[in-house]
């Protein structure tokens, strides 16, 4: 049975998450995002896993703010005199995004939770530094975890 999302624009995002936790089942995904940070060339590849409750919100629609809101807050925080967010209302008052497919949600999450320097100009980079894959494509053991790099031939 599908449940209809209440009109949430203007409702604190925190309260929307409470509603989602009460009304939506978490969605486990097999997708993983493997990425390398160009500012840390010697660091191992990192692996991002979407949260199941967050993914449920993305698939439901009408809960999460547009990703540009997070960029605006990150810009504020990057200023040298940053002390406290003064535009937190953007999270709560901006019209929430419509429901997404699982693939669209992964793209949104990349733009939200992975530094822009990793995925901006992705096509122009001389080295592949981000791959979306299934968890079955990753090593199941961590023996050489700190040596993980993106295989450029696969990417």
């Amino acid at each position: 049975m599908t449940i209809e999302t209440p009109e949430f624009q203007g409702t604190h995002l925190w309260n929307r998450l409470h509603w989602a936790k009460d009304n939506l089942d978490g969605v486990q995904t097999d997708y993983r995002v493997v990425w390398e940070d160009p500012e840390e060339p010697d660091a191992p590849a990192k692996v991002t896993v979407p949260d199941p409750n967050w993914l449920a919100c993305a698939l439901q629609g009408g809960i999460l703010p547009p990703v540009e809101v997070y960029w605006a807050l990150a810009e504020d925080e990057a200023k040298p005199d940053f002390k406290k967010h003064t535009r937190g209302y953007l999270l709560h008052n901006t019209k929430p995004v419509d429901k997404m497919t699982e693939e669209q949600a992964i793209e949104y999450l990349i733009m939200k939770d992975i530094p822009q320097r990793v995925w901006r100009n992705y096509e122009k980079a001389n080295r592949k530094r981000l791959v979306i894959c299934k968890k079955q494509n990753l090593p199941s053991h961590r023996t050489w975890r700190n040596a993980w790099k993106i295989n450029q031939e696969v990417a």
Partner: protein, 135 residues
Amino acid sequence: MSTLVINTIQGKTTAGSVNVRGEGSNNTNLQQGLCKQWCDWDTSGTIAIRDSFNTSSVVDHASGYSKNLYTNNFSTQNYVGSGSATGLNYGSPAVMSNARATKLTSEVLIRHFHGTSNGVVNPDDVMFTQHGDLA
């Protein structure tokens, strides 16, 4: 005995501030005492999240390091996290926030390490909670 059946408690003077009478004459502020983000995840193989609240993703950052990212940012970088971990062969593993310089209102880098040797470990059950003011 009375049962209170309500959906919302709101402060009268300040909507977002409700005091609960504590021991003696002190008051405990309800909002300040609430956990604002939590996560339970597995770092032992391919990273996976069991359950959470106010978490958008977890990053397997390196051996012994994970990152939690939030759906609703904190308002400042002055929030507080604490955690624990369980797992065989990790010598009562411990969990702590990494250096302050790696902390943002949107994310925290977390280190999980062996309880006696202090070396990094990847337990199958890492748990972290955070308190503070939300944006």
